[in-house]
Each structure stands twice: as C-alpha cells, then as structure tokens.
C-alpha cells in the first residue's frame, strides 16, 4: 500500500511515562475510510495511543503521519482530527448548537454555512430540536450524540473515539453501536475507536488492533482475529479458547500429539513444529463436538476423553465445562441446541464423553513468542 492509502500511520511510536512504557515501538497503518478499533485490556496503551494521534500527548519517539505529514509534534489545534471524549466533555456554558458550532466558528466560516452545517450535524444524530438546550438538560445518550455531532461537523480526516459508549447502559449501547456504524458508512470518515470490549470491537470494526502492554499483538479483520489468532493472548482475549500444549511425538505428514490409546491431537503445518518440540495450540469451543463413548469419531479427527463438569444452558446454545484428564486441564465446549430427534439433548455433569474436532480448527500459537503471553484472559 502506498502512503496515500493511509489516513494515519504510526512509525516506531514509543511513549514513556517515567519508567513505564505505555506504548512501545508501535507501528500501524490505518486506511482511509476504515472503521479501526484499538482493543485491549485497561493499561494496554490504547488510550495513550489515541491521545498521541489527537495531540494531547507527545510521543517520546517515533512519527505519526496524518495524510502523509508527520504531526507527532503538532499541537492538537493544528491537526485535522477530532475526538469524541469518554466523558463527552461538552461545554456546559454553551447550548447544544453552540457546542457543535465551536470548531466551525474557530475556522471563521460564514455564519450561514455554520448554521447549515450545525443543523445538518444535529439532524444526523437526531437532535435537531434540542439545539437550544444546555448539555446538562440532555440524557447521557443524547450528550453522547452531541459530542459526536460536534466532532463530525468539522469533517476531520480522522475521527477519534475514546470508549465513547462506556458510560451508557447495555441496551442504549447496542443501539448506539449500530448508529455509529451507520454514521460511519454515511460520512466516509476514518474512525479510530478505542475499546476494551471485544464484542463491541467485533461488531463495529473493519479492522482491529489487539494491544497488550503497549504493543500490538495482532492486526486483522474481526473474523481473522477470531478464527486465526496469532498469539495466545489474542486467542484468549477475543472470545474463548481452549489451549493445548504438548511435545510433538510423531509426525506422519501432520503434527501429532498422542495421549495413549485413542486419544490424539492432530494439527497441520508440521514443518513449523519438528518432532520433539513443544507446541502450543488453541481451539474454539464451538468447533468441538461431544460424542458418546461408543460412537466412533472420524479417523482424521482430534479425539480426547473428558468428564462433564458444568452445564450452562444459554437458550440458543449450551456451554459445557469439561475436564480433560489427558491434558490435566478443563475445556469449554459450546453446542448448538439443535435438538435433532436422534441427538442427545443435554449432557449431565459427571457423564463421560468424547471430544472431537477437525485438525483444521487447531491454531498453532508461537510458543511464548510474545512477552508474558502465557496468562490467559478469558
């Protein structure tokens, strides 16, 4: 991709707060018109990253290219980006219209144009009849939309959103997610969205960067992150994963981990994991099928024996926690409640079962490749 395709490009950006590396040698390209999310647990550096793009923090090292120009040392008011703040940060002494017009007035646009654009922006967020209200007279969701209108009315190259839905209740949040997505599609502006909520990121984003301890673990489309997590951290942070670790014992065209009679885990790409090496795999709960002990799993499949421990009926699906003695660990398995007549409906705690899945679903994870990625975030 050439430089023109990027709205924002970070190059080796590092931010130190004292000894703390809030952002550590981060490089990232965000494409024009994209809905891009920075996702990670609190303290992973995602907000610091956003604040550096906005200009509220200056990177200790590195460059931030905004439409081709390095703006890393520019003050916020000289960057063509606008921010929707987590706490909205609406000016309490100005009414809604004047809040939205703030940026346009600063640009000294003709009065008629300001009025028109403010009106259009308020109509976009369905608040055209609230222009004369003070921010304190509006609900949280409305204030949120005013903040959005106030930023978008300036038609920035990039819109930055810092956990903007964090303060809203779940229902309103879902509704605003869809609205934001619609607005993003209609204005065609690049959105950079910071969140710690993986579900929110998956719902809204074109691409997501998963961050951990100031570094990017993986960048990809939601499906890519879910189906092909690059690190153990991503596998655990996006959705739920079962982890398998073992020594590659025999490689018969495929990598194999065997656990005694009729128990095996097979995975592809044996060239990455030669015989004798330790390998780390992950598999998603919904890829695993549960069989009765007497049922014969397909020859090519992975097979492990287990004992059902917990059953959580979720309506559409049922979630099982299953002890796997061969691995001395517990698996999470999600089954669709299809209730086909011949099928067993629900497994009961204490029942013995056979877990089986196609080797295709195993992800080979780099063994401790990234710093401290062994702990699991489920």
């Amino acid at each position: 991709m050439s430089e023109e395709d990027y709205a924002i490009r970070l190059e080796g950006v590092t931010k130190l707060f004292g000894d703390l590396r809030a952002v550590d040698d981060m490089s990232l390209g965000i494409r024009k018109g994209e809905f891009f999310s920075l996702l990670g647990p609190s303290g992973c550096g995602k907000t610091t990253c956003l604040r550096m793009i906005a200009g509220f923090e200056e990177p200790t090292e590195g460059a931030i290219y905004l439409e081709g120009t390095d703006v890393a040392r520019f003050p916020p008011y000289r960057r063509n980006v606008n921010t929707v703040f987590q706490n909205y940060a609406l000016f309490p002494h100005l009414n809604v219209e004047k809040n939205v017009a703030f940026g346009l007035k600063r640009k000294k646009l003709p009065k008629a144009e300001i009025e028109k654009r403010v009106h259009d922006a308020l109509r976009m967020v369905e608040l055209e009849d609230r222009g004369k209200n003070k921010p304190t007279q509006l609900s949280g969701g409305m204030q949120q939309r005013v903040a959005l209108a106030r930023a978008l009315v300036n038609l920035p190259a990039v819109l930055l959103l810092d956990e903007p839905l964090g303060a809203l209740d779940l229902k309103l949040r879902r509704q605003m997610q869809l609205e934001l997505k619609h607005i993003h599609e209609s204005v065609g502006i690049t959105f950079i969205y910071v969140t710690h909520d993986q579900e929110e990121a998956l719902t809204m984003s074109d691409r997501i960067a998963v961050m951990k301890q100031g570094r990017v673990e993986q960048v990809g489309e939601p499906e890519e992150l879910y189906e092909a997590p690059a690190t153990r951290f991503v596998a655990g942070f996006i959705g739920v994963s079962n982890f398998i670790e073992g020594r590659v014992e025999s490689s018969n065209g495929m990598g194999v981990l065997s656990y005694g009679e009729n128990q095996r885990v097979i995975f592809g790409k044996p060239q990455d994991s030669p015989v004798g090496d330790t390998v780390s795999l992950s598999v998603r709960p919904e890829k695993i099928r549960l069989l009765e002990l007497h049922e014969e799993p397909p020859e090519e499949n992975c097979v492990l024996k287990g004992i059902v421990r917990d059953v959580v009926y979720l309506g559409m699906t049922t979630q099982y926690k299953i002890d796997v003695p061969a691995l001395q660990s517990q698996f999470t398995v999600l089954e669709q409640n299809v209730q086909v007549a011949s099928d067993k409906t629900l497994w009961m705690p204490g029942e013995e079962t056979v877990l089986t899945w196609h080797p295709y679903h195993n992800r080979v994870l780099p063994e401790q490749a990234t710093r401290g990625s062994t702990e699991e975030v489920a």
Binding site: F56, N82, F85, N87, P92, F102, G103, R106, K134, T136
Partner: protein
C-alpha cells in the same frame, strides 16, 4: 453571604434544572418543610443568633441613629431628620466617594490581573503541590494586616528600600515620592486584597473539567481562544465572587489610606471613621455608612445581573 453557600454545595445538573423550573415560592416551601426544616433550624441557629445579636441589631441601632443628631457632649440625640442624609450626599463628599470607588476599582482590576494567572497556575499546573501553593498564598495572613501595611511604609518612604536601591543603582538622583500618594494607597489595597480575589478564582478554576480544555484544543482552539471561550466563561462565578470580595471591603477601607495615604487620598471610610471617633457625630457617621451601603447594594445588584450569575444572588 449567599455566594459562599452556592460554592460549597453545587447541586447536580439535573437537580439544578429542576430547581430553576420550580417557582421561587414552592422552592422556599420545599426547603423549609418537615424534618429538613428542623435540621436547617438546628444547623443555622448559632449563626442566626450571632448575626442577629452582632450584625442585625447594631445595624438597626445605626439606622435609627442616622436620623438623629449630635448632642452637646458627642452623644446621639434621637429624632427624625433627613438632614444627615442630605449632608451625606452633599457635593462636599462627592470627590471622596468617587475617589473611594476609583481606588477600590483600580485595586480590584489589579488583583484580578494578578490573581487570575496565579489561580490558573495553581489550579491547572499545581498538581500535587497545590496545597503548598495555597499555604504560600495565605502565609502573609498569619501576620496582622496593620503590620503588613506598616511594612509598606518601610519599603516606600523616602529613605525606604525602593528609593535607596534605585539611587544606589544610579537610576534616580532624587528620591521618588512614593508614600502618601494615590499610588501607595492603591498598592496597599491591591496587596491586601489579593488573596480575597485569588481564592474564589482558584476554587472555580479548580472545579473546571480539564477535558474541556482538551476538547477546545481538539476543536481547533489555540491557548488564547481556549482561555477566552472556555476557561474565562466557566470561571466567571469565581471572577464575580472575587471582585465582590475585593471591591466591597476596599471601598470602605480606612486603614490603608490612613497609613499609606496623604492629604489627597481621603476615602469614604476615613470620613466615617472621623465622624465616629474625632468629630463624635455618630448620627452623621451612621447616615454616611448607610448611604455607602445603599450605593454598594445597587451597584452589586446591577453588576451581578450584568454578569448573568444568578447563582450568586
């Protein structure tokens, strides 16, 4: 003063809006009903008694005196005559009243000009050292006002610190006449009332949500524009409180002009003091006091209405 009450307990936005909607009367009734009425009484009783005994009653006495006359031995002869008030508003005192307002006004503007950057610095950049800065600001107040004012005599007099330094540096050949001038009085007032201006300003700037300053910059405002469009309007209650706390006592001050002033710096406070102490005409002094109070009340009312700070009244 009611402005203090509104500073200490800012009501949440929603409640505020609801209160504003409700009429004054129902507001009053709601506040003083049932249990909360009892609580309010218990909490306010000591202050109310104190104020009644030592403010309201003396004011009433003074008010009654102001219609009387001077007895042969400097006592007050009660009566009803408006002559004290006609004398109070006579052209004789016009220059003195105007001078009092001018001195107090200049001192207020100067304290605002000095206090605002100071308060802004402590509130925004003070960080963990905020309290140290505030203590430093209050430190001079651990000394008596009289002594602090006297010390200005040492600094400003002909053989004082300023004059000796300047002539030693060769900047002046003759000592400057600094003391006993309007300059020294305004300087003394400015110095004396600076904390009264700075503390309310600090209180309102400290409350200011810092993310609003970021939001302004994010929307293209440089520092000056942010100051004028966001910081200043939002700290306006502090500015109003500070100017009132400075201007009102400064207008009636008599210690500063007495110690630092000269023949042409007579302020209305000096006149009132003279009537009570030297001239022994308490009735006239009372009328002058009440006239000053009336002028100030009208002025404050107009000022606060102009500044749109309904919270203060």
């Amino acid at each position: 003063m009611s402005m203090d009450a509104s500073k200490v307990t800012p009501s949440p936005p929603a409640e505020e809006a609801a209160i504003r909607k409700a009429g004054l009367w129902s507001r009053f009734v709601d506040r003083f009903r049932g249990r909360s009425f009892l609580v309010a009484n218990v909490l306010l009783a000591p202050t109310m008694m104190w104020l009644t005994l030592f403010l309201v009653l003396p004011l009433l006495v003074i008010f009654v005196y102001s219609f009387g006359g001077r007895g042969a031995y400097g006592d007050v002869e009660l009566g009803f005559s408006l002559s004290n008030y006609t004398k109070a508003f006579s052209p004789l005192w016009m220059p003195v009243i105007l001078r009092s307002f001018a001195f107090a006004g200049i001192a207020t503007v100067l304290t605002l000009a000095l206090g605002y950057p100071l308060a802004y610095f402590v509130a925004i950049y003070g960080g963990a050292k905020k309290n140290i800065f505030l203590i430093l600001l209050m430190l001079p107040f651990w000394t008596s006002y009289l002594i602090r004012t006297y010390s200005w005599i040492v600094i400003l007099r002909t053989e004082g610190v300023v004059n000796t330094s300047l002539s030693w540096l060769g900047i002046i050949s003759e000592p400057l006449n600094l003391l006993n001038t309007p300059f020294s009085v305004v300087l003394g007032l400015t110095y004396g009332f600076l904390p009264f201006m700075t503390l309310p300003l600090y209180a309102s700037l400290e409350k200011l949500d810092k993310s609003l300053l970021e939001a302004a910059q994010d929307l293209g405002a440089n520092r000056l524009w942010t100051l004028l469009r966001v910081t200043l309007p939002l700290s306006l209650p502090g500015v109003v409180a500070g100017t009132l706390l400075t201007f009102i006592p400064a207008v009636g001050d008599f210690v500063t002009p007495d110690l630092l002033g000269g023949p042409n710096t007579l302020m209305i406070g000096n006149v009132i003091q003279q009537q009570f102490l030297s001239a022994r005409d308490w009735a006239y002094g009372s009328a002058l006091s009440f006239s000053l109070m009336a002028i100030l009340l009208v002025g404050i009312f107009l000022y606060v209405r102009k500044m749109g700070s309904e919270d203060l009244m």
